[in-house]
């Protein structure tokens, strides 16, 4: 066995063993205390419900996943562009930054009906909600990355009469890359939340059923086991997106920061 895979196993084994122990304990507690399924279903009941509804769950993950990915991509593009503008002018940054913060504090639940009115029911509104929820961490992180640069490097660029453009492309953007990756990673998790919340309000109920639909539908029908299934599906979706962004980030960082040993 090669060493890297050995290390991988060692990293993976403890959480897996813990998961198994928790599942066994959960099953035992539900069985021994005879907890009714509408309060807390056993892990086996959750698995059974998930298997029974697997076709619907998979298509729901696929739909919600598309909205989350598209929303995340828009957030990263829009957030990075906004941050680039912020980095170029202090007055722009000072004027707009408070509103960027305000965006984060918008209670999405309160404005979701408005978004539906403006953008119509369905996928596009879900994506808009996803963008609103996941945009902020990209803006703040990238802005910070673009503006807080190594002073020594900054002086070096000034001494050599580097143009504003050269400074941006050769100094600011490379040094902002780690911040972009951080921002995108936070946004990835939020995008899943955004897509599900978006579906609560703007989702379609018969033609395209996302995870948001299933989460809500389990409530009047008291299907706690299926609700747990949805939670697990949503969590998996979030983890996959987070991992994908991390992986993409690692490649990106490797390319952009090659030769820069400042981090």
């Amino acid at each position: 066995m090669s060493r890297p895979s050995h290390r991988f196993l060692r990293a993976l084994l403890p959480p897996l063993v813990l998961l198994l122990l928790v599942l066994v304990a959960w099953q035992l507690v539900v069985m021994l205390l005879e907890i009714k399924p509408y309060l807390l279903p056993s892990p086996t009941a959750v698995v059974e419900a998930a298997i029974e509804h697997r076709a619907e769950l998979f298509s729901a993950i696929w739909l919600t996943g598309r909205a989350a990915v598209l929303g995340l991509l828009i957030s990263v593009l829009l957030g990075t562009t906004t941050a680039l503008l912020f980095s170029q002018s202090r007055i722009v940054r000072r004027s707009f930054y408070p509103y960027a913060i305000a965006l984060q504090t918008v209670p999405i639940v309160a404005i979701a009906p408005l978004i539906v009115n403006w953008f119509g029911e369905g996928f596009q509104s879900v994506v808009v909600v996803t963008v609103i929820i996941s945009l902020f961490p990209v803006i703040t992180n990238v802005t910070t990355g673009l503006t807080s640069i190594d002073e020594g490097l900054h002086d070096l660029f000034q001494l050599n009469h580097a143009s504003r453009w050269q400074q941006l492309v050769k100094l600011r953007i490379p040094s902002a890359m780690p911040s972009l990756v951080t921002g995108a990673r936070i946004a990835a998790g939020l995008a899943v939340v955004g897509a599900i919340v978006g579906e609560f309000f703007a989702g379609s109920l018969v033609q395209d059923r996302g995870l948001g639909y299933f989460v809500l539908s389990t409530v009047p029908n008291l299907q706690t086991d299926l609700l747990f299934g949805c939670v697990i599906a949503a969590t998996l979706l979030g983890v996959v997106m987070f991992a994908a962004v991390s992986l993409a980030g690692r490649h990106l960082l490797g390319r952009w920061t090659a030769g820069m040993e400042t981090h």
Binding site: A25, W26, L33, Y38, F201, P220, T224
Partner: protein
């Protein structure tokens, strides 16, 4: 390392057991069995904010019918996520108000609740369309956008009937704003509520009753837990008797109750409550049904509903419709 994980698991186990102990006080729910004077204190959990569909229960309270039966009834307002079936099954409340489909769906999840009497014989559930549209029945919904509650049994039933083919069904946010704006938009409602709100905003509605499709769960029914029923049938009988009197009284003379409803839920204007009672009358006492039979339930209706819920895969074979209701508290139906 394994030892440490075992300890963690044990801690978790203890924690979960602790949660259960807190969640489920064994024995009597709060207030239950308490004596105040000679009155027995019981609680009645509503499934929504106090409105016309709860009027009869308030009438029984305000007119002293509960007191005449030796009961001090505390009415607890509900709202979104009131979880009435869960609370009743856990005996956190003595009685609650729910709809028939929820009783069956609760029993499917082993929440042992039982229906006692049904003030609304016919469901107020409707799909409302603009009155000046040419839509006369459900088949006319094709090409429309319809807002409905996610996963509601009636919506799944309509889907099963093929009535939602070519219909864009979207989530209902609780506001009639989109309905007011768009002629090609329909939405769910309770016939005594949303149509009035739309009317007030200047849009007349035509209401397609879901009950006309044959999907017609008893509504605003009184429920209790199986345990409560087995423990004290007499208490249940007294509660049912007084509640029926309350409903009869409310339909006859709703003024005082509506004022009270308005005072506990300011969102409900006196106008909408008065409108509500007028709409409730034919739902509570359909043509030909004498006031003395208010609240009745039949085995056929419960069987039909259970069959419909099975047809949309919300109910399994293990739940027996006959376990979901108890007719012992109702007056014997008058024979012709």
């Amino acid at each position: 390392m394994l030892k440490r994980q075992l300890i963690t698991a044990l801690l978790l186990l203890a924690f979960m057991a602790g949660c259960r102990a807190v969640d489920q006080p064994p024995g009597n729910p709060p207030g239950e069995g308490e004596q105040e004077g000679r009155l027995r204190t019981v609680s009645l959990q509503l499934n929504w904010f106090p409105e016309a569909e709860h009027g009869g229960y308030y009438a029984a309270l305000l007119s002293g019918y509960y007191e005449e039966e030796g009961l001090k009834v505390e009415i607890l307002p509900g709202g979104p996520g009131a979880g009435v079936i869960q609370k009743t099954a856990e005996q956190k409340v003595t009685f609650a108000v729910a709809n028939a489909d929820q009783v069956l769906l609760g029993r499917e999840q082993q929440a042992e609740v039982v229906a006692l009497m049904a003030p609304l014989q016919s469901s107020p559930r409707c799909i409302m369309v603009h009155a000046d549209s040419d839509i006369e029945d459900f088949s006319g919904l094709k090409g429309m956008t319809v807002a409905m509650g996610s996963g509601k049994a009636y919506a799944q039933f309509m889907e099963k009937q093929g009535l939602l083919e070519g219909v864009q069904v979207v989530a209902y946010s609780g506001s009639v704003a989109r309905f007011l704006e768009r002629k090609d938009f329909a939405q769910q409602g309770y016939v005594f509520s949303e149509p009035f709100v739309a009317q007030q905003q200047g849009v007349s509605t035509r209401n397609l009753m879901v009950s006309d499709l044959g999907f017609n769960p008893y509504t605003s029914i009184l429920v209790t837990s199986n345990q409560q029923l087995e423990k004290d049938r007499d208490l249940v009988h007294r509660m049912v008797r007084a509640s029926i009197r309350g409903w009869q009284q409310y339909l006859e003379d709703p003024a005082a109750v509506n004022e009270h409803l308005h005072s506990v839920n300011e969102q409900m204007s006196l106008e909408i409550l008065d409108f509500g009672v007028e709409q409730l009358k034919p739902l509570c006492l359909p043509e030909g049904m004498p006031a003395g039979e208010l609240g009745q339930m039949t085995a056929e209706r419960w069987d039909t509903l259970a069959g419909q819920l099975r047809s949309i895969d919300l109910l399994g074979e293990s739940v027996r419709a006959s376990d979901a209701y108890y007719l012992g508290g109702l007056p014997a139906p008058q024979k012709d």
